[in-house]
């Protein structure tokens, strides 16, 4: 029964056109970015940077490098938008449309209903992130050769250079952590969606929460309190490209994000359990 209910949630989710807005937006923005990489000065600047550090630029201006560069703005801007859009819809849209009342006239418990919806949301998050990576790499490969990977420097770190095989492995690994990011963002919007509000309000509240986190995180006073900001932990996907990889730091962030997701679910479930469902 549980799997049948989960399958039903996936039918509902992937049967809606708006679920695919994110996929479409990713494809469009990546196509635009790719054209910009191909036909602007971006390549020559990267060549200069590599040459200044004694590396052969031609070896690292590759599909992997471009795919990774393309991911940054997508992960920072578009993914939160589309994941929270779907997360905000999961419960609130059903309440708005009246289908929630139809469902809750049946003997399914509210907790179970939320659980299958949350799991369906997680599956959507994973599919979206994986599609993002595949599209980025596929598009980049159309215009750039399969060679080594260059990773732009991170704070307190130098840039990274990886042979193609290792670069691809890290690229795939980073997507695992991006899925955790997406699940966290979805859970946040899902939590708001469980309360009595419009789907758009749930999405806006989740995005506002992230925005406030980013703003406060970047105030110098809070430099020593980075661990307290969810947006700091959302960067963990990029840390896999650090050499050596700081696994304890990454796992700490992943656990923090998963705990935040679970907390959001529990808060949402409590709010949903006590609320009255009316027409």
């Amino acid at each position: 029964m549980f799997f049948a209910q989960l399958r039903n949630e996936l039918w509902k989710l992937f049967g809606k056109k708006r679920t695919y807005i994110g996929f479409g937006a990713f494809m469009l923005s990546q196509a635009v970015m790719l054209l910009m990489f191909k036909y602007t000065h971006w390549q020559s600047r990267l060549e200069q940077l590599l040459a200044q550090n004694g590396y052969l630029a031609a070896e690292y201006i590759s599909a992997l490098t471009v795919a990774l560069v393309m991911l940054w703005p997508q992960i920072a801007l578009l993914m939160p938008l589309y994941v929270t859009l779907v997360g905000g819809d999961l419960v609130a849209k059903e309440a708005e449309d009246g289908t929630l009342r139809m469902i809750l006239s049946r003997p399914i418990s509210r907790l179970r209903l939320l659980l299958v919806k949350w799991l369906a949301g997680m599956i959507f998050s994973a599919v979206l992130v994986l599609a993002l990576g595949v599209i980025a790499l596929g598009f980049a490969r159309l215009c750039f050769p399969w060679k080594g990977m260059f990773v732009f420097p991170q704070p307190n770190s130098t840039f990274g250079l990886f042979p193609p095989g290792e670069g691809l492995g890290l690229f795939v690994l980073s997507h695992l952590f991006m899925v955790v990011n997406a699940v966290t963002l979805l859970s946040l919007a899902f939590m708001f969606s469980c309360f009595n509000m419009k789907p758009a309000a749930a999405t806006i509240l989740a995005l506002s929460f992230l925005f406030v986190n980013v703003v406060i995180q970047h105030i110098p006073f809070f430099e020593d309190y980075q661990d307290w900001f969810i947006t700091h932990h959302l960067e963990c996907w990029y840390w896999v490209f650090q050499q050596p990889v700081q696994w304890p730091q990454i796992f700490q962030s992943v656990i923090t994000l998963l705990a935040a997701s679970l907390t959001a679910f529990v808060i949402g479930a409590v709010g949903f359990q006590v609320r009255d469902i009316k027409s």
Binding site: W11, G98, M102, S105, R106, P107, D276
Partner: protein, 304 residues
Amino acid sequence: MMISLQQVQKKFGARIVVDGLTLGVPRGEIFGLLGHNGAGKSTAIGMMLGQVWPTRGEVKVCGHDVTTQRARALRRVGAIFETPAFYDYLSGWRNLEILSHYSAPTPPERIREVVEWVGLTGRERSAVKTYSHGMRARLAIAQALLPEPELLIFDEPGSGLDPEGIAEMRQTIARLHRELGLTILLSSHLLSEVEQLCSRIAVLNRGLKVFEGRVADIKVARGRVLLKTPDFAAATQLLRARGIITGAVDGNGIVLSEGRTTAEAAKILVEADIPIEGIWLQEQTLEDFYLNLVKTAGPEANRN
């Protein structure tokens, strides 16, 4: 009792929407729940379905407390709401599959059987967004029938339907009762539908139950006698003097004294040479009864 509410109260903030409601719907009946907009009907139904939590009191459906044993209480219950909401982008069949799995595993044969029963065969694979209002209403009945219910709850099922749709809905409800032997709770504004379908009714007014009883009793017990005569004043004066009637209303109606009959009244008038063109007992319509009840029932109305 299929539905039993005991001293149920529901508050939204400081506003009391349902107060001290005690109600019983016996097995096998079509029970009507009447009331103006905001009287508390939908809230009462919400409490029966475990969608709205009562502030106080006990709500039992199929013998189980909805608050503590919701899954057991609703296992054999179907519900149909004012505007049936579906996943319009999916087919009718897929909608039925989705909704049925919230109750119990449902084999395709059962879905096919129900689709056939409501007359949607041939259109079940079309997207619901292509359905007419009447087809949506039929799909709503189909989803309610899937768990093989013993009890069906209709919350304003005729809203938004055209006269043909309303007639079809009425026939369907009667058929559900007749062929499947279901207990039906019908909340509706359409008094004529309730009058034709229901055996018992309860009337809510501002959250309070102001009446509960049999429709047949309303019609007879509170009916009046119409008297058509060229000299109504003389006729009523004579009948009052003989103790046959207690009063006259609207220039054509008389109120019989306890135990008196129209035959006695007619005999006296004929013997007195007062011509009678007609004398008959006019059954009170549910509409007359309801409007009169709501007009007279205030906040201090009969509490159960």
